[in-house]
Subunit: 222 residues, 2 copies
């Protein structure tokens, strides 16, 4: 395996995370780089979804991925195989990324020439939702095996996400997952959230997701 | 549905969480109450596993459950149907429980006469691992759909757990989950961890788990 660059990001000393997030967004806007913050529980399929997304978009867009993890770089190696530029961010045990940590990542990564950068946040439905990272939009993955009741239990995460990908729909027959209830609960938290059922493994539903991404990137560059 | 008692637990002002955890354990030892801290990702099956466990043990042991959640009391209502004494702890957005929060729960709950109390921690593989709650032992659930690589990515959680229940083994045929690799990675983090494959839905493997619990409770009461 090639050596993946790993950087240790430190928690920001800035008190005002929101102000720093706005400043980072402004900087990204000037560079024409669209940053998407992707969140989920552990094991919901963030890395597989990103691999499939890069595969679908790499001919049209220059894509970068910042892999945030407490430890290990297994995901970064997986992503690299799909041809995107990758950096691994280690959070030193931290359960989330704030705007300062994200900016350290962006600066080290070097995003010149990239159209779309994914920030794969730490697998966690609680803490990452509390910090604006400076991304243009937030997306999350809820996988079928986790159950349709998650918006009831993790309200903030569903409130801050613009898109909810419902992943692993290939195993719907084996789980008691009610898609209608899921949509009802997600919209209870955020009436404007887009819900896109996908199967990252087979590619089902990915086109709707990449269409949304392409439209977002185009609008950001205007 | 019956009304479940809900209390809001506040983060401890004690600086020394470990000292408070030891004091709580001592108090529980005097009362002959065994407290188990149960952790996992969102949607791995904590509540279903507890329901199945209560069903199997309720004739032999008096069981209580403290359900910690950021919001909602859906799990507490599920558990109550299985005949255990239940209290809902709301963490006010906090991503974990510390010893002080657990003690507030224990004091409000009233554990006199109970043999075994489960603390169902907030669904999160990061923060709960950092705080000794005062429980006698820690257990966690890793579900098959999450993947066998989780001990690589969430090292601390697997290091602090005495038992790892590998849940949802009924869906093994539909996921790329390697049980041998899982065991190898868990033991890399904690060579002494017991690994028990279960299916909370069908009851498979539950007896080995309840045997472990019965032996633990008996030893604690000696």
């Amino acid at each position: 395996m090639d050596k993946i660059r790993i950087i240790e990001v430190k928690q920001s000393i800035f008190e005002n995370n929101d102000r720093q997030a706005d400043a980072l967004r402004k900087k990204l806007k000037e560079k024409g780089v669209y940053l998407l913050n992707l969140m989920s529980s552990p094991g919901s399929g963030k890395t597989t979804t990103l691999s499939r997304t890069i595969e679908a978009l790499s001919k049209e867009l220059n894509i970068g991925v910042m892999e945030a993890d407490i430890d290990s770089d297994v995901d970064a190696h997986t992503i690299e195989k799909f041809g995107a530029k990758v950096i691994q961010l280690h959070t030193g045990g931290m359960c989330h990324l704030d705007a300062g940590m994200t900016e350290q990542g962006i600066d080290e990564f070097g995003v010149e020439g990239l159209d779309l950068v994914f920030l794969e946040n730490v697998g966690n439905l609680v803490c990452p939702a509390e910090f604006d990272t400076g991304a243009v939009k937030n997306a999350m993955i809820l996988s079928v095996p986790e159950g349709h009741d998650k918006p009831l239990k993790y309200p903030l995460m569903f409130s801050v996400c613009d898109v909810v990908l419902v992943n692993k729909i290939d195993v719907l027959p084996y789980f008691d997952f009610d898609m209608e209830k899921c949509e009802e609960y997600v919209h209870m938290r955020n009436p404007k959230a887009q819900i896109i059922p996908i199967c990252a493994k087979t590619g089902e539903g990915i086109e709707k997701w990449t269409d949304w991404l392409k439209a977002e990137v185009a609008a950001w560059k205007e």
